[in-house]
Protein backbone atom coordinates (compact mmCIF):
# COMPACT_ATOMS: atom_id res chain seq x y z
CA UNK A 1 0.00 0.00 0.00
CA UNK A 2 1.24 3.50 -0.80
CA UNK A 3 1.94 6.12 1.84
CA UNK A 4 -1.16 8.20 2.56
CA UNK A 5 -0.94 11.87 1.56
CA UNK A 6 -1.82 13.03 5.05
CA UNK A 7 -1.75 10.91 8.14
CA UNK A 8 -2.72 11.84 11.68
CA UNK A 9 -1.51 9.53 14.44
CA UNK A 10 -3.08 9.62 17.88
CA UNK A 11 -3.51 13.43 17.99
CA UNK A 12 -4.49 14.81 21.35
CA UNK A 13 -5.28 18.32 22.57
CA UNK A 14 -7.56 19.68 25.28
CA UNK A 15 -8.91 23.16 26.08
CA UNK A 16 -9.71 23.74 29.73
CA UNK A 17 -10.21 20.01 30.21
CA UNK A 18 -12.41 19.53 27.13
CA UNK A 19 -10.76 17.01 24.85
CA UNK A 20 -11.09 18.50 21.37
CA UNK A 21 -8.83 15.82 19.92
CA UNK A 22 -8.73 12.61 21.89
CA UNK A 23 -6.54 10.21 19.99
CA UNK A 24 -7.39 11.05 16.39
CA UNK A 25 -6.17 8.58 13.76
CA UNK A 26 -6.93 9.48 10.18
CA UNK A 27 -5.52 8.96 6.70
CA UNK A 28 -6.18 10.87 3.52
CA UNK A 29 -5.22 9.18 0.28
CA UNK A 30 -4.07 10.99 -2.82
CA UNK A 31 -6.93 12.06 -5.07
CA UNK A 32 -9.89 11.43 -2.78
CA UNK A 33 -12.65 13.76 -1.57
CA UNK A 34 -12.97 13.08 2.10
CA UNK A 35 -15.79 14.53 4.16
CA UNK A 36 -15.74 14.98 7.92
CA UNK A 37 -19.11 15.12 9.65
CA UNK A 38 -20.05 15.30 13.28
CA UNK A 39 -21.92 17.38 15.83
CA UNK A 40 -20.89 20.93 16.67
CA UNK A 41 -18.01 21.05 19.12
CA UNK A 42 -16.82 17.55 18.28
CA UNK A 43 -13.42 18.93 17.26
CA UNK A 44 -13.58 19.04 13.47
CA UNK A 45 -12.16 22.55 13.10
CA UNK A 46 -9.63 21.76 15.82
CA UNK A 47 -8.44 18.89 13.63
CA UNK A 48 -7.89 21.32 10.72
CA UNK A 49 -6.08 23.67 13.07
CA UNK A 50 -3.82 20.84 14.19
CA UNK A 51 -3.05 19.77 10.62
CA UNK A 52 -2.12 23.30 9.55
CA UNK A 53 0.06 24.25 12.48
CA UNK A 54 -2.34 26.79 13.97
CA UNK A 55 -2.49 24.61 17.08
CA UNK A 56 0.15 22.33 18.53
CA UNK A 57 -1.07 18.90 19.68
CA UNK A 58 -0.14 17.89 23.22
CA UNK A 59 0.79 14.52 21.76
CA UNK A 60 0.62 12.68 18.46
CA UNK A 61 2.01 13.38 14.99
CA UNK A 62 0.84 14.63 11.62
CA UNK A 63 2.61 13.32 8.51
CA UNK A 64 2.55 14.69 5.00
CA UNK A 65 3.86 12.09 2.54
CA UNK A 66 5.19 10.16 5.47
CA UNK A 67 7.24 13.10 6.78
CA UNK A 68 6.29 14.68 10.09
CA UNK A 69 4.91 18.23 9.91
CA UNK A 70 3.61 18.40 13.47
CA UNK A 71 3.77 21.85 15.06
CA UNK A 72 5.42 23.52 12.06
CA UNK A 73 4.27 27.11 11.46
CA UNK A 74 1.18 27.53 9.25
CA UNK A 75 3.27 29.24 6.58
CA UNK A 76 5.75 26.35 6.45
CA UNK A 77 2.95 23.82 6.12
CA UNK A 78 1.33 25.99 3.45
CA UNK A 79 4.57 25.97 1.49
CA UNK A 80 4.71 22.19 1.79
CA UNK A 81 1.43 21.87 -0.04
CA UNK A 82 -1.51 22.05 2.36
CA UNK A 83 -3.84 24.97 1.66
CA UNK A 84 -6.86 25.92 3.69
CA UNK A 85 -10.19 27.63 3.20
CA UNK A 86 -11.97 28.89 6.28
CA UNK A 87 -15.43 28.64 7.74
CA UNK A 88 -15.47 32.42 7.93
CA UNK A 89 -13.75 33.47 4.68
CA UNK A 90 -10.38 35.07 5.36
CA UNK A 91 -9.97 37.69 2.65
CA UNK A 92 -8.16 40.98 2.14
CA UNK A 93 -11.44 42.84 2.35
CA UNK A 94 -10.23 46.27 1.31
CA UNK A 95 -8.49 45.03 -1.83
CA UNK A 96 -10.12 43.99 -5.08
CA UNK A 97 -11.05 40.39 -5.84
CA UNK A 98 -8.32 40.31 -8.46
CA UNK A 99 -5.73 41.74 -6.02
CA UNK A 100 -6.71 39.11 -3.46
CA UNK A 101 -5.94 36.41 -5.94
CA UNK A 102 -2.82 38.06 -7.32
CA UNK A 103 -1.41 38.24 -3.80
CA UNK A 104 -2.03 34.51 -3.48
CA UNK A 105 -0.38 33.84 -6.84
CA UNK A 106 2.57 36.01 -5.82
CA UNK A 107 2.77 34.18 -2.50
CA UNK A 108 3.10 30.91 -4.38
CA UNK A 109 5.64 32.18 -6.90
CA UNK A 110 7.67 34.26 -4.46
CA UNK A 111 6.95 37.79 -3.27
CA UNK A 112 10.61 38.86 -3.21
CA UNK A 113 10.45 40.98 -6.34
CA UNK A 114 10.57 44.43 -4.75
CA UNK A 115 10.22 46.58 -7.86
CA UNK A 116 7.90 44.57 -10.10
CA UNK A 117 4.21 45.47 -10.13
CA UNK A 118 1.87 42.97 -8.49
CA UNK A 119 0.16 42.20 -11.81
CA UNK A 120 3.41 41.87 -13.80
CA UNK A 121 5.24 38.72 -14.82
CA UNK A 122 2.07 36.81 -15.65
CA UNK A 123 0.59 37.08 -12.15
CA UNK A 124 -2.45 38.96 -13.38
CA UNK A 125 -3.08 36.42 -16.13
CA UNK A 126 -2.83 33.46 -13.79
CA UNK A 127 -5.16 35.12 -11.30
CA UNK A 128 -7.69 35.94 -14.01
CA UNK A 129 -7.66 32.34 -15.23
CA UNK A 130 -8.36 31.09 -11.74
CA UNK A 131 -11.23 33.55 -11.33
CA UNK A 132 -12.69 32.45 -14.64
CA UNK A 133 -12.44 28.84 -13.52
CA UNK A 134 -14.92 29.46 -10.70
CA UNK A 135 -16.91 32.17 -12.47
CA UNK A 136 -15.69 35.06 -10.32
CA UNK A 137 -14.22 36.91 -13.29
CA UNK A 138 -17.04 39.41 -13.53
CA UNK A 139 -16.45 40.52 -9.93
CA UNK A 140 -12.68 40.87 -10.46
CA UNK A 141 -12.63 44.63 -9.97
CA UNK A 142 -14.95 44.68 -6.95
CA UNK A 143 -13.64 45.08 -3.41
CA UNK A 144 -13.65 41.71 -1.70
CA UNK A 145 -15.52 43.29 1.20
CA UNK A 146 -18.52 44.03 -1.01
CA UNK A 147 -19.08 40.42 -2.13
CA UNK A 148 -22.07 38.47 -0.80
CA UNK A 149 -21.29 35.57 1.53
CA UNK A 150 -21.48 32.83 -1.11
CA UNK A 151 -19.05 34.62 -3.40
CA UNK A 152 -16.71 35.25 -0.49
CA UNK A 153 -16.66 31.55 0.25
CA UNK A 154 -15.77 30.85 -3.35
CA UNK A 155 -13.02 33.48 -3.39
CA UNK A 156 -11.61 32.07 -0.16
CA UNK A 157 -11.44 28.64 -1.74
CA UNK A 158 -9.91 29.80 -5.00
CA UNK A 159 -7.27 31.72 -3.00
CA UNK A 160 -6.36 28.40 -1.42
CA UNK A 161 -6.26 26.75 -4.86
CA UNK A 162 -3.94 29.49 -6.19
CA UNK A 163 -1.23 27.95 -4.00
CA UNK A 164 -1.45 24.84 -6.22
CA UNK A 165 -1.63 22.70 -3.11
CA UNK A 166 -1.54 18.93 -2.99
CA UNK A 167 -4.21 18.90 -0.33
CA UNK A 168 -6.85 21.51 0.40
CA UNK A 169 -8.76 21.62 3.66
CA UNK A 170 -12.22 23.18 3.38
CA UNK A 171 -14.00 24.18 6.58
CA UNK A 172 -17.75 24.07 5.88
CA UNK A 173 -17.65 25.36 2.29
CA UNK A 174 -21.44 25.59 2.15
CA UNK A 175 -22.19 27.17 5.52
CA UNK A 176 -23.81 30.57 5.24
CA UNK A 177 -24.90 29.72 1.71
CA UNK A 178 -28.58 29.23 0.90
CA UNK A 179 -29.79 25.71 0.11
CA UNK A 180 -30.45 26.66 -3.50
CA UNK A 181 -26.98 28.06 -4.04
CA UNK A 182 -25.37 25.21 -2.17
CA UNK A 183 -25.29 22.71 -5.02
CA UNK A 184 -24.24 25.32 -7.59
CA UNK A 185 -21.33 26.20 -5.32
CA UNK A 186 -20.41 22.55 -4.86
CA UNK A 187 -20.56 21.86 -8.61
CA UNK A 188 -18.24 24.81 -9.33
CA UNK A 189 -15.97 23.76 -6.51
CA UNK A 190 -15.76 20.11 -7.54
CA UNK A 191 -15.07 21.15 -11.13
CA UNK A 192 -12.20 23.35 -9.97
CA UNK A 193 -10.83 20.67 -7.64
CA UNK A 194 -10.88 18.06 -10.39
CA UNK A 195 -9.23 20.37 -12.86
CA UNK A 196 -6.49 21.26 -10.38
CA UNK A 197 -6.16 17.56 -9.44
CA UNK A 198 -6.20 18.42 -5.74
CA UNK A 199 -6.99 16.09 -2.92
CA UNK A 200 -9.61 17.63 -0.66
CA UNK A 201 -10.86 17.20 2.85
CA UNK A 202 -13.99 19.06 3.80
CA UNK A 203 -15.88 19.54 6.98
CA UNK A 204 -19.56 19.65 6.15
CA UNK A 205 -22.92 19.89 7.90
CA UNK A 206 -25.20 19.28 4.94
CA UNK A 207 -25.71 15.52 4.67
CA UNK A 208 -27.08 15.78 1.13
CA UNK A 209 -23.89 17.49 0.01
CA UNK A 210 -21.78 14.84 1.73
CA UNK A 211 -23.77 11.96 0.27
CA UNK A 212 -23.50 13.36 -3.22
CA UNK A 213 -19.85 14.46 -3.38
CA UNK A 214 -17.71 12.60 -0.84
CA UNK A 215 -15.76 9.48 -1.77
CA UNK A 216 -15.36 8.65 1.85
CA UNK A 217 -16.89 9.95 5.09
CA UNK A 218 -15.31 10.21 8.50
CA UNK A 219 -17.70 10.60 11.40
CA UNK A 220 -16.44 12.62 14.32
CA UNK A 221 -17.65 12.44 17.88
CA UNK A 222 -16.17 13.99 21.04
CA UNK A 223 -12.72 14.49 19.61
CA UNK A 224 -12.19 11.20 17.86
CA UNK A 225 -13.22 9.20 14.82
CA UNK A 226 -16.38 7.22 15.49
CA UNK A 227 -16.91 5.64 12.08
CA UNK A 228 -15.56 5.87 8.57
CA UNK A 229 -16.26 4.47 5.10
CA UNK A 230 -18.04 5.27 1.86
CA UNK A 231 -21.21 7.35 2.28
CA UNK A 232 -23.43 4.42 1.26
CA UNK A 233 -22.11 2.39 4.20
CA UNK A 234 -21.70 5.10 6.81
CA UNK A 235 -25.18 6.49 6.37
CA UNK A 236 -26.64 3.06 7.14
CA UNK A 237 -24.80 2.82 10.45
CA UNK A 238 -27.32 2.98 13.32
CA UNK A 239 -25.01 4.90 15.66
CA UNK A 240 -24.19 7.46 13.02
CA UNK A 241 -27.83 7.97 12.16
CA UNK A 242 -28.73 8.47 15.79
CA UNK A 243 -25.80 10.62 16.92
CA UNK A 244 -24.91 12.70 13.92
CA UNK A 245 -27.40 12.76 11.12
CA UNK A 246 -30.30 13.04 13.50
CA UNK A 247 -28.72 16.01 15.22
CA UNK A 248 -27.58 17.69 12.05
Amino acid sequence: MTTPLLQAKDLRIAFYGVKAADGVNLEIREGEFLAIIGPNGSGKTTFLNLCTGYLRPSSGEVYLDGKPITAMAPRTIARRGIARAFQIPQLFLDQSVLDNLMIAVAAKRGIWVPFKALGAEGRRQEAEELLALVGLDREAGQLAGTLPEGRRKLLDIVIALALKPRLVLLDEPTSGVSTIERFTLMETLMGALRQAKVTALFVEHDMDVVQRYADRVVVWDSGSVMAEGPPSVVFKDERVLRNVVGVA
Binding site: T45, N49, Y54, F86, Q87, I88, Q90
Partner: protein
Protein backbone atom coordinates in the same frame (compact mmCIF):
# COMPACT_ATOMS: atom_id res chain seq x y z
CA UNK B 1 25.35 51.19 51.49
CA UNK B 2 21.91 50.51 53.02
CA UNK B 3 22.11 53.88 54.80
CA UNK B 4 22.13 55.52 51.42
CA UNK B 5 19.84 53.08 49.66
CA UNK B 6 16.90 53.15 52.07
CA UNK B 7 16.33 56.92 51.97
CA UNK B 8 16.83 56.69 48.21
CA UNK B 9 14.23 53.93 48.10
CA UNK B 10 11.71 56.11 49.95
CA UNK B 11 12.49 58.85 47.45
CA UNK B 12 12.07 56.47 44.55
CA UNK B 13 8.84 55.00 45.87
CA UNK B 14 7.38 58.44 46.54
CA UNK B 15 7.98 59.52 42.96
CA UNK B 16 6.76 56.11 41.78
CA UNK B 17 3.56 56.71 43.75
CA UNK B 18 2.93 59.91 41.78
CA UNK B 19 3.46 58.11 38.47
CA UNK B 20 1.27 55.30 39.75
CA UNK B 21 -1.72 57.62 40.12
CA UNK B 22 -1.37 58.58 36.46
CA UNK B 23 -0.68 55.05 35.27
CA UNK B 24 -3.59 53.51 37.13
CA UNK B 25 -5.92 56.11 35.61
CA UNK B 26 -4.54 55.33 32.18
CA UNK B 27 -4.97 51.62 32.72
CA UNK B 28 -8.49 52.04 34.08
CA UNK B 29 -9.56 54.16 31.12
CA UNK B 30 -7.96 51.66 28.75
CA UNK B 31 -9.73 48.68 30.22
CA UNK B 32 -13.18 50.30 30.14
CA UNK B 33 -13.01 52.44 27.00
CA UNK B 34 -10.40 50.31 25.19
CA UNK B 35 -8.65 53.48 24.16
CA UNK B 36 -5.10 54.36 25.03
CA UNK B 37 -5.34 58.06 25.84
CA UNK B 38 -2.13 59.76 24.73
CA UNK B 39 -3.35 63.01 26.31
CA UNK B 40 -3.67 61.41 29.75
CA UNK B 41 -0.41 62.98 30.96
CA UNK B 42 -1.78 66.44 30.26
CA UNK B 43 -4.34 65.97 33.04
CA UNK B 44 -1.41 65.40 35.37
CA UNK B 45 0.20 68.71 34.46
CA UNK B 46 -3.12 70.56 34.49
CA UNK B 47 -3.78 69.07 37.93
CA UNK B 48 -0.36 70.29 39.04
CA UNK B 49 -0.98 73.83 37.79
CA UNK B 50 -4.46 74.05 39.28
CA UNK B 51 -3.23 72.74 42.64
CA UNK B 52 -0.27 75.10 42.70
CA UNK B 53 -2.52 78.04 41.82
CA UNK B 54 -5.07 77.13 44.48
CA UNK B 55 -2.29 76.61 47.02
CA UNK B 56 -0.76 79.97 46.24
CA UNK B 57 -4.18 81.59 46.53
CA UNK B 58 -4.75 80.01 49.96
CA UNK B 59 -1.36 81.27 51.13
CA UNK B 60 -1.99 84.69 49.61
CA UNK B 61 -5.42 85.04 51.18
CA UNK B 62 -3.96 84.22 54.58
CA UNK B 63 -6.26 81.24 55.15
CA UNK B 64 -5.47 78.35 57.46
CA UNK B 65 -2.47 76.58 55.82
CA UNK B 66 -3.92 73.16 56.69
CA UNK B 67 -6.58 73.91 54.11
CA UNK B 68 -3.91 73.22 51.49
CA UNK B 69 -4.40 69.47 52.02
CA UNK B 70 -8.06 69.26 51.05
CA UNK B 71 -7.23 71.84 48.36
CA UNK B 72 -4.95 69.31 46.63
CA UNK B 73 -7.76 66.78 46.35
CA UNK B 74 -10.30 69.46 45.49
CA UNK B 75 -8.06 70.66 42.65
CA UNK B 76 -7.98 67.18 41.15
CA UNK B 77 -11.75 66.94 41.51
CA UNK B 78 -12.18 70.28 39.73
CA UNK B 79 -10.03 69.11 36.83
CA UNK B 80 -11.95 65.83 36.61
CA UNK B 81 -15.34 67.56 36.70
CA UNK B 82 -14.25 70.09 34.12
CA UNK B 83 -12.64 67.74 31.61
CA UNK B 84 -13.93 64.23 32.34
CA UNK B 85 -17.52 64.30 31.03
CA UNK B 86 -16.74 66.94 28.40
CA UNK B 87 -13.83 65.12 26.76
CA UNK B 88 -15.50 61.72 26.99
CA UNK B 89 -18.78 62.89 25.44
CA UNK B 90 -17.32 65.21 22.80
CA UNK B 91 -14.26 63.26 21.75
CA UNK B 92 -13.47 59.87 23.20
CA UNK B 93 -16.77 58.22 22.37
CA UNK B 94 -16.23 58.79 18.64
CA UNK B 95 -13.15 56.63 18.79
CA UNK B 96 -14.69 53.52 20.36
CA UNK B 97 -14.19 50.48 18.20
CA UNK B 98 -11.96 52.36 15.75
CA UNK B 99 -8.46 51.22 14.91
CA UNK B 100 -5.64 51.94 17.37
CA UNK B 101 -4.08 54.29 14.86
CA UNK B 102 -7.19 56.48 14.88
CA UNK B 103 -7.43 56.39 18.67
CA UNK B 104 -3.81 57.35 19.13
CA UNK B 105 -4.08 60.18 16.60
CA UNK B 106 -7.27 61.63 18.05
CA UNK B 107 -5.87 61.60 21.55
CA UNK B 108 -2.60 63.04 20.28
CA UNK B 109 -4.69 65.89 18.84
CA UNK B 110 -6.26 66.29 22.27
CA UNK B 111 -2.78 66.35 23.79
CA UNK B 112 -1.76 69.23 21.52
CA UNK B 113 -4.94 71.14 22.40
CA UNK B 114 -4.53 70.62 26.15
CA UNK B 115 -0.85 71.60 26.07
CA UNK B 116 -1.70 74.91 24.43
CA UNK B 117 -4.70 75.53 26.68
CA UNK B 118 -2.51 74.99 29.69
CA UNK B 119 0.13 77.36 28.32
CA UNK B 120 -2.48 80.03 27.53
CA UNK B 121 -4.12 79.80 30.97
CA UNK B 122 -1.09 79.30 33.20
CA UNK B 123 1.72 80.77 31.08
CA UNK B 124 5.14 79.26 30.54
CA UNK B 125 6.66 79.85 33.96
CA UNK B 126 6.75 77.17 36.62
CA UNK B 127 4.82 77.42 39.88
CA UNK B 128 5.96 76.13 43.27
CA UNK B 129 3.91 75.76 46.43
CA UNK B 130 5.28 73.55 49.18
CA UNK B 131 3.13 74.41 52.22
CA UNK B 132 1.82 70.83 52.69
CA UNK B 133 5.34 69.43 52.74
CA UNK B 134 6.53 72.03 55.24
CA UNK B 135 3.55 71.45 57.50
CA UNK B 136 4.14 67.71 57.80
CA UNK B 137 7.82 68.04 58.56
CA UNK B 138 10.07 65.05 58.79
CA UNK B 139 10.73 61.95 60.87
CA UNK B 140 14.08 60.72 62.06
CA UNK B 141 14.51 56.95 62.05
CA UNK B 142 17.87 55.42 62.81
CA UNK B 143 19.77 58.56 62.01
CA UNK B 144 18.08 59.04 58.64
CA UNK B 145 15.62 61.85 57.97
CA UNK B 146 12.46 61.05 56.02
CA UNK B 147 10.02 63.60 54.67
CA UNK B 148 6.61 62.76 56.13
CA UNK B 149 4.98 64.01 52.97
CA UNK B 150 6.76 61.34 50.93
CA UNK B 151 5.60 58.64 53.35
CA UNK B 152 2.08 60.03 52.97
CA UNK B 153 2.32 59.72 49.19
CA UNK B 154 3.30 56.05 49.43
CA UNK B 155 0.46 55.38 51.86
CA UNK B 156 -2.01 57.17 49.59
CA UNK B 157 -0.94 55.08 46.61
CA UNK B 158 -1.55 51.91 48.61
CA UNK B 159 -4.92 53.31 49.63
CA UNK B 160 -5.84 53.96 46.00
CA UNK B 161 -5.04 50.35 45.04
CA UNK B 162 -7.26 49.03 47.82
CA UNK B 163 -9.93 51.67 47.20
CA UNK B 164 -10.18 50.87 43.50
CA UNK B 165 -10.38 47.15 44.18
CA UNK B 166 -13.17 47.69 46.72
CA UNK B 167 -14.93 50.09 44.37
CA UNK B 168 -14.84 47.60 41.51
CA UNK B 169 -15.87 44.53 43.46
CA UNK B 170 -18.09 45.75 46.29
CA UNK B 171 -20.12 48.63 44.89
CA UNK B 172 -22.96 48.58 42.39
CA UNK B 173 -21.34 51.01 39.97
CA UNK B 174 -18.06 49.10 40.29
CA UNK B 175 -19.75 45.88 39.28
CA UNK B 176 -21.32 47.64 36.31
CA UNK B 177 -17.86 48.80 35.26
CA UNK B 178 -16.51 45.27 35.64
CA UNK B 179 -19.35 43.95 33.51
CA UNK B 180 -18.63 46.47 30.75
CA UNK B 181 -14.93 45.56 30.86
CA UNK B 182 -15.70 41.86 30.61
CA UNK B 183 -18.14 42.06 27.72
CA UNK B 184 -19.34 45.39 26.41
CA UNK B 185 -22.00 44.01 24.07
CA UNK B 186 -23.40 41.72 26.71
CA UNK B 187 -23.49 44.54 29.24
CA UNK B 188 -25.38 46.69 26.76
CA UNK B 189 -27.82 43.93 25.94
CA UNK B 190 -28.77 43.37 29.57
CA UNK B 191 -29.59 47.04 29.90
CA UNK B 192 -26.52 48.53 31.55
CA UNK B 193 -26.21 52.20 30.73
CA UNK B 194 -22.75 51.95 29.20
CA UNK B 195 -22.55 55.66 28.45
CA UNK B 196 -22.75 56.44 32.15
CA UNK B 197 -20.07 53.85 32.86
CA UNK B 198 -17.83 55.40 30.20
CA UNK B 199 -18.28 58.94 31.56
CA UNK B 200 -17.66 57.85 35.15
CA UNK B 201 -14.64 55.71 34.34
CA UNK B 202 -13.05 58.34 32.17
CA UNK B 203 -13.64 61.04 34.77
CA UNK B 204 -12.18 58.81 37.46
CA UNK B 205 -9.15 58.31 35.23
CA UNK B 206 -8.79 62.07 34.79
CA UNK B 207 -9.18 62.54 38.53
CA UNK B 208 -6.40 60.05 39.29
CA UNK B 209 -4.03 61.72 36.80
CA UNK B 210 -4.86 65.18 38.13
CA UNK B 211 -4.45 63.88 41.69
CA UNK B 212 -0.97 62.69 40.81
CA UNK B 213 -0.16 66.14 39.47
CA UNK B 214 -1.72 67.92 42.45
CA UNK B 215 0.14 65.76 44.95
CA UNK B 216 3.37 66.38 43.06
CA UNK B 217 3.23 70.16 43.46
CA UNK B 218 4.47 70.32 47.09
CA UNK B 219 7.67 68.49 46.13
CA UNK B 220 8.15 69.24 42.45
CA UNK B 221 5.91 72.19 41.59
CA UNK B 222 4.28 72.64 38.20
CA UNK B 223 6.26 73.28 35.04
CA UNK B 224 5.65 73.34 31.28
CA UNK B 225 6.43 70.11 29.46
CA UNK B 226 5.43 68.06 32.47
CA UNK B 227 2.52 66.46 30.64
CA UNK B 228 4.61 65.00 27.84
CA UNK B 229 7.19 63.57 30.24
CA UNK B 230 4.63 62.10 32.61
CA UNK B 231 2.73 60.58 29.72
CA UNK B 232 5.55 58.30 28.63
CA UNK B 233 6.42 57.34 32.18
CA UNK B 234 2.80 56.42 32.89
CA UNK B 235 2.72 54.50 29.62
CA UNK B 236 5.78 52.57 30.68
CA UNK B 237 4.35 51.72 34.09
CA UNK B 238 0.95 50.72 32.69
CA UNK B 239 2.59 48.59 30.01
CA UNK B 240 4.91 46.85 32.46
CA UNK B 241 2.00 45.98 34.71
CA UNK B 242 -0.14 44.88 31.80
CA UNK B 243 -2.64 47.33 30.30
CA UNK B 244 -5.86 47.23 32.27
CA UNK B 245 -4.31 45.75 35.41
CA UNK B 246 -4.63 47.85 38.57
CA UNK B 247 -2.40 45.74 40.81
CA UNK B 248 -0.08 45.30 37.84
CA UNK B 249 0.37 49.06 37.62
CA UNK B 250 1.12 49.19 41.35
CA UNK B 251 3.76 46.47 41.13
CA UNK B 252 5.20 48.09 38.00
CA UNK B 253 5.42 51.46 39.74
CA UNK B 254 7.34 49.85 42.62
CA UNK B 255 9.70 48.09 40.21
CA UNK B 256 10.30 51.26 38.22
CA UNK B 257 10.79 53.30 41.39
CA UNK B 258 13.37 50.85 42.73
CA UNK B 259 15.07 50.52 39.33
CA UNK B 260 15.57 54.27 39.34
CA UNK B 261 16.98 54.16 42.82
CA UNK B 262 19.50 51.52 41.77
CA UNK B 263 20.32 53.55 38.67
CA UNK B 264 20.89 56.71 40.72
CA UNK B 265 23.10 54.78 43.10
CA UNK B 266 25.21 52.88 40.59
CA UNK B 267 24.95 54.81 37.30
CA UNK B 268 23.35 58.23 37.76
CA UNK B 269 23.31 59.01 34.03
CA UNK B 270 20.97 56.04 33.53
CA UNK B 271 18.32 57.40 35.93
CA UNK B 272 15.95 58.65 33.23
CA UNK B 273 16.50 55.59 31.03
CA UNK B 274 15.77 53.02 33.76
CA UNK B 275 11.94 52.94 33.44
CA UNK B 276 12.10 52.39 29.69
CA UNK B 277 14.74 49.70 29.96
CA UNK B 278 12.58 47.89 32.51
CA UNK B 279 9.66 48.26 30.10
CA UNK B 280 11.61 46.90 27.15
CA UNK B 281 12.89 43.92 29.12
CA UNK B 282 9.47 43.08 30.56
CA UNK B 283 7.66 43.42 27.25
CA UNK B 284 10.24 41.34 25.43
CA UNK B 285 9.72 38.52 27.92
CA UNK B 286 6.01 39.04 28.56
CA UNK B 287 4.56 41.00 25.62
CA UNK B 288 1.31 41.74 27.47
CA UNK B 289 2.96 42.92 30.66
CA UNK B 290 3.39 41.27 34.05
CA UNK B 291 -0.33 40.71 34.72
CA UNK B 292 -1.69 41.02 31.18
CA UNK B 293 -3.20 38.33 29.02
CA UNK B 294 -3.26 37.93 25.27
CA UNK B 295 -6.56 38.17 23.50
CA UNK B 296 -7.31 34.99 21.60
CA UNK B 297 -8.72 34.88 18.13
CA UNK B 298 -11.23 32.38 16.83
CA UNK B 299 -11.12 31.01 13.32
Amino acid sequence: MLDTLIPLAVDGLASAALIFFVAVGLTLVFSVLRVLNVAHGSFYSIGAYVAASVGLWIAGAGLNPWLSFPALILSAAIVAALFGPLVERCLMRWTYGKSEAIQILVTFGLFLILEDLQRIVFGVSSLAEDTPMQLLGSTRIGGVIYLNYQLLLIALAALVVIGLRVLLTKTRIGRLVTAVVADREMAQSIGINTNRVFILSFSLGVFLAALGGALATPTAGAAPGLGAETMVLAFAVAAIGGLGQIEGAALAAIIVGLARVLAIYFAPELDAVAPYIVMLVVLLIRPYGLFGQAATRRI
